[in-house]
Symmetry: C2
DNA sequence: GAATGAATGAGTAGAACTACTCATTTTTTT
DNA sequence: AAAAAAATGAGTAGTTCTACTCATTCATTC
């Protein structure tokens, strides 16, 4: 048998972390070399210890799983990232794929799926949660649109991202203007630009997008 | 030593369920007599098997933890409910307290906390997550207001709850009107009544409330 | 049977957001 | 240095939601 592969886990829910740890260790094929309760310091640890796998929660305090994956990718590290998420948000998924994530698992369909994923990825494969695959099939028509959305997010400027961030906190145009010391008109214009770029139309669509895609910008 | 106490667990995230199960069983003092991946059938199982504890996720498909607790309370069962939640939403907490919940634990501060809770509750106590206690202290001034909000939710009528439910799905007044075959004005009036009852003021406040308190109505 | 509450609908005024177009200044890129 | 992109601001029209007041019908309660 091969040497045990090293895995680090990061999730802000301790009980969840515990569950992942148990399942991974029980299999006898892997070794947990690091555990984290937030996204903080995770990338530094990966860069220093170069584990084989990194199992990351998408939504975490300090630094989201997606951000960590981005850093791993930028640094050209060999650590294979597996994302765990609660949400069937396809935008997160496309973002993850574009960052070279090897596994994407939904928390509500994941126990033995996790081991299958590790197995498959060990041999150079890619693993996607069954629940998400269904989602992908159902929305075959929309998938192209959603990829465009993702590309569009990359085209957002710093100010636009900033405003999206504040919108995700339910702040109004007026509140954002006051917070950033700029005119309401400027904020309003930025909002419109974002809507154009993301092709969002109708009442509250932008606020909704901001709230449902917090981790994406 | 006493006989092992029976516990049932319900959570729609299998890995989480697994973590809870491991921790509870490791202690040697408790026995898992039932596991559920959704809120469905949970109450029936509790009514039939009368376990000592029920560890329930607040947000679950089919039937939320809060609903299950309500049924336990209505049926006058002795099963002690412990709620697990991801969200520091105090409204959920107040609702839980009003339903006679014995433990309220945040998922992001819970591992050994869970055993302490079971221990404490066994001896007739009540357990509240440390993270939430802080929250309660910080908002001491607001706490009265929030309790009023909770009371007010009980005063909502069936139609009003229905509209809140649709608002939580980001539906607009027009969409709700079409879906319920009533006039936009009627929906608008209901919205205003709800705002009055819940003392919500300003742009998007109602939509925000609906989205952040889905499980409450 | 009168009173109350609930569901339904409308009128009006104002606030906030959407959806356009346009202009000026600054920064970045080439 | 010239061109392009970004940040800032404004004009105007239309939509949606907020915040009131009011009326009618129906069911429940007392």
């Amino acid at each position: 048998m091969d040497k045990k592969k090293k895995i680090i886990i990061a999730d802000d829910h301790p009980l969840f972390l515990y569950g992942v740890k148990q399942i991974v260790e029980e299999s006898g094929k892997f070794e947990i070399s690091g555990e984290f309760n937030s996204g903080e310091d995770v990338f530094e640890f990966i860069a220093n210890t170069k584990p084989d796998f990194a199992i990351l929660d998408v939504r975490m305090p300090e630094c989201s799983g997606l951000e960590i994956v981005e850093k791993i990718s930028d640094a050209g590290l060999a650590t294979k990232a597996i994302l765990l998420t609660m949400y069937k948000n396809l935008n997160y998924f496309y973002k993850a794929v574009s960052l070279g994530v090897k596994g994407y698992i939904l928390k509500d369909t994941a126990t033995q799926e996790l081991l299958s994923a590790l197995e498959k990825i060990s041999y150079g494969g890619v693993f996607i949660s069954e629940g998400l695959q269904k989602q992908l099939k159902n929305r075959k028509i929309d998938s192209h649109k959603q990829e465009i959305v993702l590309l569009s997010i990359n085209s957002l400027t710093a100010s636009e991202r900033n405003i999206l961030r504040l919108l995700a906190e339910w702040k109004s145009t007026k509140e954002i203007a006051e917070e950033l010391f700029i005119s309401e008109r400027t904020v309003s214009n930025h909002r419109n630009h974002i809507c154009e770029k993301l092709n969002l139309k109708g009442a509250n669509r932008l606020v909704r997008f901001a709230i449902e895609n917090k981790e994406l910008f």
